[in-house]
């Protein structure tokens, strides 16, 4: 059994780019929660992090949009955004192509994924990594779920992706952490930017930590769009991690709507070694 830690975290670019505009006390609590997650990953002697995110047209486009994609590059780089704007320095990010290959081969036994030997990380991975692996010493295996432009994968298939990732992680000898990023309500880059549906977020996060499969899979894209905005489609990244860790009840380590970051910031732990 090689899964050593799993959780979710927020990836809003505002956390780094507009950090000083938030209530300093709330932001401090958020950074402490990120640091607690960093510590949990380090304490588990993590050798690689599988990070499930939804990128925002940094690498993938509608000319051949992968529903799911897994990175298999020799190394990654990021952020693709202006580092001065995002306030995350541009850097190379270590990879493990051999582990990627083994994970992809195993996932393909039950779920079709594309693979990518080139991948520029955007804020969806760059912001979490800035806090979780600030010295960029842990190899990353990026996983992308298309949440930007429909048609999207059915949530039941996203659940199966999580199960397939878990099976792949469990047969790998490496000690692996699994992190999902994004997933709460937001209306990014639209006239409604800044709108937050705290009660939707609160309900979803409670379904998540309690691994309520039926409730999570009962969401429809229509309801998500109306209640959680186009950013809410990213709930797929969270559902994927819940599926991978169904046997344990999780914990909420941080939950607070932060309008200047345009979303509810949330950090959960969904699996720990006992």
């Amino acid at each position: 059994m090689s899964l050593v830690y799993a959780g979710t975290c927020c990836h809003s670019p505002g956390i780094t780019s507009r950090g000083e505009l938030a209530d300093p006390e709330i932001r401090q609590q958020l950074l402490q929660a990120f640091d607690r997650q960093r510590q949990a990953i380090e304490d588990a002697d993590t050798q690689a992090i599988v990070m499930v995110s939804s990128e925002h047209f940094a690498n993938f486009f509608m000319d051949n949009m992968p529903t799911y994609s897994i990175g298999m590059a020799d190394e990654y780089e990021g952020p693709i955004e202006d580092p001065d704007w995002l306030k995350v320095p541009h850097t190379r990010i270590p990879a493990n192509p051999d582990l990627s290959l083994r994970i992809i081969q195993q996932v393909l036994q039950s779920v079709d994924v594309s693979y990518a030997q080139e991948w520029k990380f955007d804020h969806g991975m760059a912001v979490p990594l800035h806090f979780l692996t600030p010295d960029y010493k842990i190899p990353i295996i990026p996983v992308n779920i298309n949440c930007q432009n429909p048609p999207f994968s059915p949530l039941s298939r996203t659940w199966e992706l999580g199960k397939a990732l878990r099976r792949a992680i469990d047969i790998a000898p490496e000690r692996i952490a699994l992190i999902g990023t994004g997933g709460t309500s937001h209306w990014p880059c639209t006239p409604d930017s800044g709108r937050i549906n705290e009660s939707w977020d609160n309900e979803m996060i409670n379904h998540l930590i309690n691994k309520r499969k039926e409730a999570l899979l009962a969401y429809t894209d229509e309801a998500i769009y109306q209640q959680a905005g186009p950013g809410g489609y990213e709930v797929r990244t969270s559902i994927c991690i819940a599926a991978a860790t169904e046997e344990q009840t999780g914990e909420i380590w941080f939950f607070a709507p932060i309008p200047i970051f345009a979303t509810t910031c949330c950090i959960t732990t969904l699996y720990q070694l006992e």
């Binding site: 047209f57 509608m62 000319d63 693709i80 930007q148 432009n149 639209t190 006239p191 769009y225 186009p230």
Partner: protein, 104 residues
Amino acid sequence: MSLYYVQKLLYKLNRDPTLKQRFDSDQDAVLDEYSLSEEEIKALKRPDIGLLYVLGVNGQLLMHYATMSGYSWPEYIQAMRDGVEYYGPVREGIYAMIDGNGAT
């Protein structure tokens, strides 16, 4: 409607510095290479960020074009609101999927 090609151009402009240079120096030549309607060409050239939003461009692509065109964040948000007020509901794409309003 050729929303796909409007979005493809914006995607590539954001990733390809050489294309961006060509676009800055000879916009018409670059626009000629994409199958675009008159309205889309007009919206891209002006640029009319509000009209591009109403035509259905995904905000994750549009915000980069707005920034590239010198819009601050509040100006970008306002331009989309003005676009919906002037041109009406979003006509196509991800924000038209449910109620066509996108902006509320």
